[in-house]
């Protein structure tokens, strides 16, 4: 009489609430670190990676220096829903999620102190002089 092979458990089925690909899984963390895909994921040659990394560093530094030079200057923000506002730039938070501004000119008046949500901003311009 043959005994059926024992199993530890059954295979896990799909999660009804998500499409899976757990971002906390070791494979995801190891292979998906950046939010913008690098050339590494499309298998171009390894010599390109340091060049790409250098380009990223340059871009990041330029962006941070831009934020520094904006301090206490009047900045025009172009935002979603055709919003154009002007304010005096104060500071950004560390993850660039919010900008702290003063004297924000809005269609319904001037706000002395305000936080602008960065994900709503399409672009901003200022005169560095």
């Amino acid at each position: 009489m043959a005994t059926p092979v024992s199993v530890l458990r059954l295979p896990k089925g799909p999660d009804p609430n998500s499409r899976g690909f757990d971002p906390k899984s070791p494979r995801f963390i190891a292979l998906c670190r950046t939010s913008i895909a690098t050339s590494a994921s499309s298998e171009t040659n390894a010599e390109q990676l340091p060049i790409e990394q250098h380009a990223r560093s340059v871009l990041r530094e330029t962006f941070l220096r831009c934020l520094l030079s904006m301090t206490n200057k009047k900045v025009q923000f172009l935002m979603h829903e055709r919003v154009k506002v002007e304010a005096t730039f104060g500071a950004s938070d560390i993850d660039v999620l919010n900008f702290q501004v003063s004297d924000l000119h809005t269609p319904i008046g001037v706000q002395k102190e305000a936080l602008i949500r960065c994900q709503d901003v399409i672009s901003f311009t200022f005169d560095p002089v």
Binding site: T3, V5, G20
Partner: protein, 329 residues
């Protein structure tokens, strides 16, 4: 002591599973992708069948699915006239490749730079994944819908099987037909083993083994029922086949002897493939499930545990299930 095979059922799909493919062995194990008529291909951990994620985006039945060797990319072929390339780590859709008809088959080159597609428009297409906006190269010749297309001979050649009852070998650089095999009946499936250059073809009740370079016949084996898919073990000692009688058959490749048959599926078996390490094989069926079967029944591997006779009577054996409960899809 004789052990009875306990297949592991992977549920989740709601319609027939028509194609499945394994990745190569990666530092994170190996993976499995299944194509389903419900339009939602799924990726699973290869040795346990645990669900990893579902690729969402197709608007029609998915007829073909594949993973690249290191399981970082997936490709799918669907009835919505598109083939899609996916990031197999994040599950995001990376590319949509528009076709003029139902796409049935997709296959990556070893370096994942080129995707081969084929379908009901009778054309083979080669997409350069580094320059995806560029128009694909097209190979015409088949006179009916293409069922399966594969890279072979170190990605220098292409093998295609179509409803015109032919299998054709094409040269990638010249885009010309090199050889053709004609059959009396439609070929139901094709598998290519790079190691040994063997082509496994199924048609009617027959499983045929051919040299993939010359298309010379090595041998044929007949099964008790019409076969839809077969797979040769990486060590080339066994092969498995499944088809219209819902059973999985295991044969000795050398002697052609039928060794075992397994019941389990509730519908015809559409696809069967050995894992890259040969320790298990997966089958996809009309019943909407995938089942994993052990090559060496009773061995400890994945979720299967070898239990010695003395252990079976122990008090603390709650963690071991001797008969897994059937889960209805």
């Amino acid at each position: 002591m004789a052990m009875r095979q306990t297949p592991l059922t992977c549920s989740g799909h709601t319609r027939p599973v028509v194609d499945l493919a394994f990745s190569g062995i990666t530092p994170y194990g190996y993976f499995l992708i299944s194509a389903c008529k419900d339009g939602k291909p799924m990726m699973r951990q290869g040795d346990t069948g645990d669900w990893i994620g579902t690729f969402l985006g197709h608007k029609g039945a998915v007829w073909g699915a594949t993973l690249n060797t290191d399981a970082t990319k997936a490709a799918t072929a669907a009835a919505d006239f598109t083939a899609k390339v996916w990031d197999a780590v994040s599950g995001d859709e990376v590319l949509t490749l528009a076709h003029k008809h139902i796409v049935k088959t997709v296959n990556f080159t070893k370096d994942s730079t080129c995707l081969l597609t084929g379908g009901n428009d009778k054309l083979l297409r080669l997409y350069d994944l580094i320059n995806p906006e560029a128009a694909p190269q097209e190979i015409a010749g088949h006179t009916s819908a293409i069922k399966k297309a594969l890279w072979c001979n170190n990605d220098k050649q292409i093998l295609s099987a179509a409803d015109d009852k032919t299998i054709r070998l094409w040269d990638r650089s010249s885009m010309e037909e090199v050889k053709q095999l004609k059959f009396d009946t439609a070929v139901s499936s094709m598998e290519y083993l790079a190691d040994g250059e063997i082509l496994v073809i199924t048609y009617g009740k027959t499983i045929g083994f051919y040299n993939a370079l010359s298309l010379d016949l090595i041998k044929t084996v007949d099964a008790p029922a019409p076969i839809n898919s077969a797979s040769l073990h990486p060590d080339k000692d066994f092969f498995v086949a499944g088809g219209e009688d819902f059973k999985l058959y295991k044969f000795d490749y050398g002697t052609k002897e039928e060794l075992e048959s397994y019941k389990g599926h509730f519908g015809p078996v559409h696809c069967v493939r050995f894992s890259p390490d040969g320790e298990l094989y997966a089958s996809g069926s009309e019943d909407g499930t995938l089942r994993l079967w052990q090559t060496a029944v009773g061995k400890t591997y994945g979720l299967w545990k070898c239990v010695l006779p003395e252990e079976l009577g122990l008090e603390n054996s709650e963690q071991l299930y001797t008969t897994p409960p059937e889960i209805k899809a």
